[in-house]
């Protein structure tokens, strides 16, 4: 099974990287760009009985390692 995990900064946490990207895009002429947030994406191959147990295990992985829940949120997507 293939899963995608998206890890993003919580609202209220300043995102200097995202801000720098937005500024750079503006200076390249992309005036229509508003806010930019930069996060991470993990593509994980996982062996699991079914989607539910995969999701549960991936959730644990996020809580324990993949996301720093002090400052980050996570979202799990099973690709197939």
């Amino acid at each position: 099974m293939q899963a995608r995990i998206f890890v993003t900064l919580k609202n209220g946490v300043l995102d200097p990287q995202g801000k720098a990207v937005a500024t750079a895009l503006h200076s390249l002429g992309y005036e229509g760009v508003g806010a930019v947030r930069q996060g991470k994406m993990f593509e994980i191959d996982i062996a699991a009985a079914d989607r539910e147990s995969a999701r549960a295990e991936l959730g644990e992985m996020c809580e324990r390692l993949l996301a720093n829940t002090v400052i980050e949120n996570y979202e799990i997507e099973i690709v197939d």
Partner: protein, 221 residues
Amino acid sequence: MKAAVIVFPGSNCDRDVQVALRQSMGAEPDMVWHGDHSLGRYDLVVLPGGFSYGDYLRCGAISAHSPIMKEVVRHAERGGAVLAICNGFQIACESHLLPGALMHNASGRFVCRPVRMRVETADTPFTARYDTARPIEIPVAHHDGNYFADEATLDRLEGEGRVVFRYDGDNPNGSLRDIAGIVSENRRVLGLMPHPERAADPALGGTDGRAMFESLVEALS
């Protein structure tokens, strides 16, 4: 004082802090491998600077799960002292020994230079020998030293006098409230981004870091 310096894969400043400790202790600290499952009895455990695990995933994130960290946490729960420098501070936050998180520098770049700081409190085993009226200068060298915690946590830290070092008009990384170093509730775990071990030898340009090691030897021997 019995001291241990934890060495993670990718730690770089372990030898530097070993030298500074040796100088103040007059004895050798133990160098302890991160993979060990047991930790002897120590008065002080040091989490040194460096790039443990290459800063992969997040700084200190993978190190926080090293076998030795369970023991370091127990040591801290027993009231043991922990000095967490730079990458060590990152590991301490990821291990929840300290609140908050260290994020990318606001400039987006690595920064290495001396910074001016105020010592906000001498009421810790790390800063007893400092004169809080006199600002100090200690080098920083980091890419991810931007301290973040939510407002409630920041207020609590301030209210409880747990901000130990504050950048003095010289914030190199965008840390909230100019926070350079904080201490735990029991005031025995200190995390700071600057490197006191690089300011403990006159030949290296400054000795404002030496008082920290002397404070510790005095408090913990």
